[in-house]
């Protein structure tokens, strides 16, 4: 029997029981569809997380206290005072790959302008902070090193803070606001940055490091040190340089093992990527259970088909069909059945992914990989669940099969 005969006969028998075939395929259709949709949504959110992180600057290196301080936000009380301003100076002097550096202190503070007030994050940092975080001024100017050293009470405010505190935006620069009752003069307003992970990047006030550290918080340490390189490929070597410096120099001084954590933005992206990757896989695994159920449906209907067509199989065997060709005939039938289901499922998955991104605002990306995977899986399901019925057909005895009514 030629391959074309086998495929033709598969299509014919599927077509002969159209409703039944469609119902059988439904399991595969739903399975493949949800695998595709889940993977598309997973891939989409991974992508949007990456691009959000990318907005923060891919060259950034975050040095924070605490041995286990992933994410750089949580502060370990025991080690909170490990980073000092001089460490920033040591890094910029000893690490050739590092181009920009700033120690950072931050605090959530009440900000008051006359009768308006708001709570916002106040960051104390060097001028490099703006470069590292891609901030530019919209109005006014930024402060420099001298303002910090002389403990001047000046600040640069984000767009949201400006909107919340002032009616007339043209008059913001030069105004005095109170941060924790301490008066600060506004010397600049930052360009709008929008949101990252739902956090408003414009709800921020940046003031010189020394001013915030000494005047406002009254501490001797920095919460974090941020560093940055000129290009993305220097990030890795910069990280190594900083790490060596800390181990060799700072350890000696402190006489113990300093507890710190160096994290690059790239690593953060990878961590986030792997988290969403695991999530995607989990969703796809759940979705593939319905593929399995679909496979059982196919096996069931193929067994029915073999029983129904016992007489036909008997005839084919009688006129000299080798058993393996009979096996192949039914195997191909179940493969074609599940591949058609897979094909419809791909379309369905695509549509579901589109609907999800349109109505729920979730970004979704249907990748070729997910299509190949889902398709391959439905082929696999066709082979596995078709084999048993096909073997049953091939093992029939021609005389008994011919007598079957």
């Amino acid at each position: 029997m030629k391959t074309i005969d086998l495929i033709k006969s598969a299509f014919r028998s599927i077509n002969r029981n159209r409703t039944r075939s469609l119902l059988t395929m439904l399991g595969i259709i739903i399975g493949v569809g949800s695998v595709i949709a889940m993977m598309a949504i997973g891939r989409g959110s991974e992508d949007s997380i990456k691009s959000e992180l990318g907005k923060l600057g891919t060259n950034m290196i975050i040095i924070s206290p605490g041995p286990d301080n992933r994410g750089g936000v949580r502060i370990d009380e025991a080690n909170i005072d490990i980073l000092k301003e001089k460490d920033a100076a040591a890094i910029i002097d000893n690490c050739p790959s590092v181009k920009y550096i700033t120690p950072v202190v931050q605090s959530r503070t009440q900000v008051v302008n006359g009768s308006s007030n708001t709570r916002t994050t106040v960051v104390g940092a060097y001028r490099d902070y703006f470069i590292i975080n891609n901030y530019n001024t919209m109005r006014g100017q930024l402060f420099d090193e001298t303002t910090g050293r002389s403990l001047q009470k000046v600040c640069v405010i984000g767009k949201t803070v400006a909107d919340e505190l002032f009616e007339n935006q043209d008059e913001v620069v030069g105004k005095i606001i109170r941060l924790d009752k301490i008066p600060f003069r506004i010397i600049g307003v930052l360009e709008e940055k929008g949101r990252t992970f739902g956090v408003d990047r414009d709800k921020i006030i940046v003031a010189p490091f020394q001013t915030i550290q000494k005047r406002m918080l009254g501490v001797t340490y920095a919460h974090q040190i941020l560093a940055s390189t000129d290009s993305e490929d220097q990030v890795e070597s910069a990280k190594n340089e900083i790490s060596n410096l800390f181990v060799n120099e700072l350890k000696k001084e402190s006489g113990g093992e300093p507890q710190f954590n160096i994290q690059t933005q790239k690593e953060l992206m990878e961590i986030m990527g792997s988290i969403t990757g695991v999530l995607t896989l989990l969703l796809a695994a759940i979705a593939s259970i319905s593929l399995l159920v679909g496979g059982i449906g196919i096996m069931n209907i193929m067994l029915v088909s073999v029983t129904e067509r016992t007489k036909e199989i008997g005839l084919r065997l009688a006129v000299g069909a080798p058993a393996r060709i009979i096996l192949l005939q039914f195997l191909i039938e179940s493969i074609v059945l599940s591949l058609i289901g897979g094909l419809i499922g791909v379309v369905l998955g695509y549509v579901m992914a589109e609907i999800a991104s349109d109505s729920l605002g979730i970004k979704s990306i249907v990748t070729l990989n997910s299509i190949i995977l889902a398709f391959g899986f439905s082929f696999f399901v066709g082979v596995v669940f078709g084999f048993f019925p096909a073997r049953k057909a091939a093992r029939l005895n021609p005389i008994q099969a011919l007598r079957h009514e």
Binding site: E312, A318, R324
Partner: protein, 250 residues
């Protein structure tokens, strides 16, 4: 006649079903030679073993003991796949209940045995099937689905299917069992034509008037050959058919 090697030689063929205390001895010690050019009818009461013998001779079943020599070759110990090749290349089968594929054209039904012969191309397959259908007078029914054909026409499609691979032997198990006298005679006409063109035919039948068209009658009883007689002057099916038709007209 007996100087040539027989096409079919059964040597002490025994077939036992359900071996054990409830065994059924369907055939016991059958010895039989059938030569090229013969048209053999197998007679006997129900359960005498006719179908069992035909199935063994047609390589659809294997004897419990004894030897079956086909064209001088022992086929009683061959594998299933070797037997299916023999059936495909050397035999044609006609059954009482036609056994055509439903909702399939006459042409495709006739093509069926050739599908399992990889040496035959799609084009040859089609040509041979059309030739076979033409031989049984169904040239104008080639594209008809089998369920659109009368019983007699369906059996003729089955005959075309049996001869499409140019077989050495055609086996028929009660081919006229479901047909009226007139169509039975027509089927016998095609069988006699095939016999005349050199094919060996082995046919199981109950009906004495059908036996009269063959040239050898073997009667079975309880799995043994009771009687084996040549028929020196077989009736001509074509003439009988025409006589029947002209009688109907009057």
């Amino acid at each position: 006649m007996n100087s040539q090697t027989p096409v079919i030689r059964a040597e002490g063929i025994t077939r036992i079903f359900n071996p054990g205390p409830n065994e059924v001895r369907a055939l016991s010690n059958i010895n039989l030679d059938i030569y090229s050019g013969e048209f053999v009818s197998l007679m006997g009461s129900s359960g005498s073993g006719k179908s069992t013998l035909l199935n063994i001779l047609g390589c659809l079943d294997q004897p419990t003991s004894g030897r079956y020599m086909l064209d001088g070759e022992d086929v009683s110990q061959l594998s299933q796949s070797a037997l299916s090749t023999i059936r495909n290349r050397k035999f044609g089968f006609v059954f009482q209940s036609y056994n055509l594929l439903p909702k399939t054209t006459a042409l495709e039904n006739v093509e069926l045995p050739l599908m399992y012969n990889p040496e035959i191309s799609l084009k040859q397959r089609r040509e041979k099937a059309i030739t076979a259908l033409t031989k049984v007078g169904l040239k104008d029914r080639i594209m008809h689905k089998t369920n659109e054909l009368s019983g007699g026409q369906q059996q003729r499609v089955a005959i075309a299917r049996a001869l499409v691979n140019d077989p050495v032997v055609i086996f028929a198990d009660e081919p006229t069992g479901n047909l009226d006298t007139k169509t039975s005679y027509q089927v016998m006409e095609y069988f006699q034509e095939l016999n005349a063109s050199g094919k060996l035919l082995v046919m199981v039948t109950h009906e004495p008037d059908i036996v009269a068209f063959t040239n050898r009658k073997i009667t079975l009883q309880d799995g043994k050959i009771l009687e084996d007689t040549p028929i020196s002057t077989p009736k001509n099916a074509k003439a009988c058919y025409q006589e029947l038709v002209s009688n109907e007209d009057h």
